[in-house]
């Protein structure tokens, strides 16, 4: 009996250490003087942890900046962070938790479209703003009047990239590799549809599941279809792995991909194999604009790394939310939603934000490419 107890205790300790870390973080935040609470849902651990942590970093930075200049409507803001682990079930559970807490006025997150969609019905029913910095699935913002996304949808981005590939880069035959989740399927579909519309040929399409580390078999198969270029609907970590393994196979060809590839990590992990890669951004960290320089410098100072596109979007999301509260003149969940819906030309770091009636952001894009292991503006060549 005592051994059974020991087993249980041991497990409890192991799991406890882990969860306590986050609980402690939360309590610290709760001590501030009656602040207004925003919930952040993000994958703090798991496969998407680095994106989630960038969310957290940017949102905390934005809140510090807002509070330093007097807060919103005379009150300070505070954030409660929930770890969805990139798991739709966790994301939905957190949504239950946030919406049932009257202290919380609005929610930022989650990271993946899949997680956002899983939590959507809960926010919709409870009536709380679900503002995702990054969910780009076309169904997301359209699914509920409470859902907003500021990344721009693949329906907006992919025609631009297809045009880039066909007209600017002159590719006619493209092979596609994509991650098999809501986002990846959507991205690949919008790209192939638009590329074919322009007159291009898709030579082969292959997908892989989350967590895959070995892409050599897929690449070998795609290679046999003999394309001009490879379209890679992947996050930058997978993108780097795919490129590394492609180089090992001795397969050198240009790569095109969505804005999710734009990251310093891609360069660091991919090395020389990511040269000759073409993508678009709405946030470019080396942009000389003063507000972007200020954000990048501050981020680097606080966290010792360069912010990427996703980080900038999370920062924009927090700033936008604060702006909407100011415009609403209230912390009422309903009023915040109305003000958010009315957003027009909000000057975000990752492009200005105007919401369509459905809650999608209309974005502008900049063409970039990787050369000598650096991102460069394509049109300035």
């Amino acid at each position: 009996m005592s051994k059974v107890l020991r087993a249980i205790l041991l497990l409890a300790v192991v799991l406890g250490v882990v969860s306590n870390g986050y609980a402690a973080g939360k309590q610290e935040k709760a001590k501030t003087d009656e602040p207004v609470y925003i919930a952040l849902t993000a994958p703090i651990t798991g496969d998407y942890a680095e994106y989630g942590n960038n969310f957290k970093r940017s949102v905390e930075m934005a809140i510090d900046k807002i509070n330093a200049s007097g807060g919103v409507l005379g009150r300070k803001l505070a954030v409660l962070v929930g770890d969805s682990k990139g798991d739709p079930k966790e994301s939905a559970t957190l949504a239950q938790k946030w919406t049932s807490d009257p202290k919380i006025v609005a929610q930022i997150g989650d990271f993946t479209s899949t997680c956002c969609l899983a939590a959507q019905p809960i926010y919709d029913q409870a009536g709380m703003v679900q503002l995702s910095p990054t969910a780009s699935h076309t169904k997301f913002a359209q699914g509920s009047k409470w859902s907003f996304s500021i990344v721009g949808t693949q329906a907006g981005e992919q025609p631009f990239i297809a045009d880039y590939a066909y007209n600017k880069l002159g590719f006619r035959k493209i092979a596609v590799i994509h991650i098999n989740n809501d986002w990846g399927v959507d991205t690949a579909r919008y790209f192939t549809d638009n590329f074919k519309k322009l007159g291009g040929t898709i030579t082969a399409i292959e997908n892989y599941f989350d967590g895959e580390k070995d892409f050599t078999a897929i690449l070998t198969k795609l290679r046999a279809s003999n394309p001009d270029a490879l379209f890679m609907a992947a996050m930058y970590n997978d993108g780097a792995s795919i490129s590394n393994q492609r180089a090992k196979l001795g397969w050198n060809l240009p790569v095109v991909g969505p804005s999710s590839l734009y990251s310093e990590q891609l360069l660091k992990l991919g090395g020389d194999s990511v040269n000759n890669l073409y993508t678009v951004v709405s946030f470019f960290a080396d942009d000389p604009k003063p507000e972007i320089r200020a954000y990048v410098t501050e981020f680097e100072k606080r966290y010792g790394l360069k912010p990427n596109f996703h980080a900038a979007l999370a920062y924009d999301a927090m700033m936008l939310l604060a702006d909407a509260m100011k415009r609403a003149g209230s912390f009422d969940r309903d009023k915040i939603r109305e003000a958010l819906q009315a957003t027009k030309d909000f000057p975000g770091l990752a492009g200005s934000i105007t919401f369509t009636e459905k809650g999608d952001a209309i974005k502008q894009y900049t063409r970039v490419m990787v050369k000598n292991n650096k991102f460069e503006l394509f049109d300035k060549r």
Binding site: A7, L11, V17, T45, D214, A240, Q265
Partner: protein, 288 residues
Amino acid sequence: MIVQQLINGITQGSIFALLAISFAVIYGVLRLVNFATGATYMMGAFAGWLTVRYISQNIFLAMLAGLCTGWSIGFLIEKVAIKSLRGVARIASLICTIGFSIFMIEIATVIFGAETKAMPSFFNEKAFTLGGATVVWYQLFLIGTAVTILLLLQILIFKTKAGLAIRTVSLDFKTAGLMGINVDRTISLAFSLGGATAGIAGVLGSVYYNIVNPTMGNLQGLKSFSAAVFGGLTSIPGAILGGYLLAIVENFGVQIVSGGYRDIIGFVILVGFLLFRPRGLLGKKTSL
């Protein structure tokens, strides 16, 4: 193309085979699936990464670091999950290995951060092309190293006294004790050996894929478990065969069907074997 898929499969299979052995050695002596194998693989990779980054750009040193780390983790798991829970239902130890897995992943996340780290390449130059397939030296190095380790383990288990102890304990630990074999120490040795194999595999795998992160072992561990079941969980040669076959079948599955079915192929094999031939390809009838 077929040659390329075969080479891809053999390279990947080398990593699977090492991990499958790690499962098999431990399952053999204790009839316990060590679910912390994937996490041990990851810790081995981090040890290799630290070595390469802070000590020396030497892959052999990195492998040594992976081996020592894996060995220590295996040793520790045995002390905590097995020895302290002796006499409790087997399930307690099983859950404890899962706990260890979560614990190691979280610890790695806390210490190193969730960000994926770049592992440098070694011997990345093209060795030769064969039938349109490109082979880099590192692939040959990886396969060669894996085969060497597998052979050494084979010798250790079938030709040495310590190996005889492992085999007798795995067949009948009570009678092994009556022969004067120290059963506790033998179980501990098997865990350390299994850990060390997983640790080295972590270094080899991370250099091949050029990445290190806290979740890198999750899928790798599960697939290797399938490979071990495929080959026969109690059979060392079976585990090796299972590792290579699974990877080759997967790679050809991608070629013939689609990349999206890749993991399905692996797990269909797992479920199929558990249902219809639980002893695997080479496992003994009496073993499971």
